[in-house]
Structures are given as C-alpha cells and as structure tokens.
Symmetry: C2
Subunit: 149 residues, 2 copies
DNA sequence: CAGTATCCCTCAAGATACTG
DNA sequence: CAGTATCTTGAGGGATACTG
C-alpha cells in the first residue's frame, strides 16, 4: 500500500498522473524499461532498491496498465515486464526529463549520457511544441481552459 | 531538509532532475506557476498543503534557480515567485504530463481541463519528437549512448 | 501576509529472511 | 530467480502556534 489517494481523483490531469509517477522510483523504473530492461532482477540491480519496494511499484505499474507481464523471451519459466502501449506513450515525459536534466543539471564540462537516434547516431533533437500554424509554442502562448464537470 | 541526496549526483540526467521534481508537490507548484500564480498564499490555497512544506519546496526551487524572488507586482512590500528561464524550460515536462494524463487517466466521457492555444483557442497539439529527417521519432528509434566520465 | 518554529505521525523505503 | 513476509527506520508531510 502507499501513494496519496487524494491525487488519484484530482480534476487536474497532471495531479492524477503524479498519483502514479510522483515519487522517486517510478520514472526510473520506466526509464529502465525504455532502456530494454524487462526482468525483476534487472530493475533491482540497476536501481539498487529494496525488493519489496520494487515489487510494490511494479504491481502498481501493472495495475495501471503501464507495464504488462509477458512470458520470458528466453525459454525460462519466469515472467517479464513489458511496456504496454500506454506505457510507451510515456516516452515524451522521459525525454522531457532527460533533456531538461542534460541542459540544466550538469556543470560545464561535466559529461553525461546522451539520447541518440538509432538510425543516424545523432543526438535526439529537442522536444518542441508547435502551434497549429507551425510556429513554436511557448509557455505564454497556451493556457488551461477549465471545463465544468 | 529532505530529499534524497543520492539522486543529486547520479550520472543519469533523469535521476538528477528527480532530485528536484521527484515528489508529489514540486510539479504541481510549477504547474501553478505556469498558471500565473506568484504569491505564497496563492500556492498555499491552490494546493492545500502545509505552509512549512510549501516553504521548504519553494526554497529548494529558488536554490535550484527554477523560481526567483521578485518584488511584488502590485505595490505591496512582499516578494513574489517568478519562473526563471530555467524554470520556463520545464514547460515540455508539464505539457507531457498533462497530455498523458488527459489521454489515459480519465474514464470515457469524464471531462477534464484542456490546454489551449491563446491565439487560436484550439487545443494544444501533441508533443512530438521528430528525427533529423523530419519523421516521427518513436521510443524504439532512440537509445541512450553512455559517455565515459 | 508570508513565512518560521515545533511537534507529531504516517508511510515510503530499507534490510533481511524466507518460499515456490 | 522472483518474489513475499516481517520488522525497522527515517524522512516527508501535516497541524498549529508564533513572528516581523
């Protein structure tokens, strides 16, 4: 058990999403999933977190249909955790975090990993939001429209 | 006090970012900031969180130069919290969360708020990642390239 | 109004042992 | 190997009183 239930029913989409992802581990698990990890032990060794906590998080992520359990790709009897379509759609969140971190969380000269295009080997371009007319959409150019329940 | 120091020096940009944003409140504060809120009391009433916790979070966000304190826009003696450039660049993260939440955290028919373009009034388009050749970049098309320290 | 100072408590997280 | 079960700890968070 865990996780602040009040967020779950919040009217704001961000708050609801934070019910699942608003902690120190979930996004790192998902990062690892995008990185190709699928086995309980892979996550556990990669993240160095306690097994019961990992199990709890994985359970929530499966319940929320971000991960699904599938038969192991090798012949073994175990299950693996694979991203669902819903989980794959978290990719922009992961990339947004990565890119912001790359830009702002390193001292000059300090090296870090980079996300590159598989096809070209070039660093991935910045996530950009474009308006309907094709121009860049900045934060001042959008606002939240409240809808009545 | 608070916040897991180990993440702060992690080699992964995502992990470092989670040192600041990986909790249930920080991103909601920033969402409110994008929504135009600037005063301590605004945040406090909007989020309904304890004042000491809010003060703690605001302090970290100022230390990390995501918010800065500026003189109040009205004549009052108080300070306000404004997004820095670094803070404004969190916009894609906020939008990515919002859009994913809108797509996946509501039952069919359940209404929610929408982000619209100020100029056109149309809903903001999906954040998309494009490759250097202009084609859509999906999660399988990119990978993390490790750099040696 | 915008915080700070205390006190308290829950729960997220860790450690470890155990099981199919 | 992939978890579950237990126990413990500490930090994240809440409530409230106080201050410039």
């Amino acid at each position: 058990m865990a996780k602040q239930e009040s967020l779950r029913a919040d009217p704001c989409p961000m708050a609801r999403t934070l019910y699942i992802l608003g902690d120190r581990w979930s996004l790192l698990i998902i990062r690892d999933a995008f990185d190709g990890k699928r086995r309980f032990g892979d996550f556990q060794r990669s993240l160095g977190m306690a097994k019961n906590i990992l199990a709890e998080r994985l359970k929530l992520l499966v319940e929320e249909e971000i991960l699904q359990m599938v038969p192991a790709s090798d012949g073994s009897t175990y299950q693996e955790y694979a991203l669902t379509r819903k989980g794959e759609e978290l990719f922009p969140i992961i990339v947004a975090f990565r890119q912001w971190g790359e830009s702002h969380m390193y001292r000059k000269g300090e090296r870090h990993s980079v996300l590159v295009e598989r096809a070209t080997g070039k660093p991935v371009k910045r996530l950009e939001l474009r308006a309907h007319d094709g121009s860049p959409l900045n934060h001042g150019d959008a606002f939240v429209k409240k809808l009545k329940a």
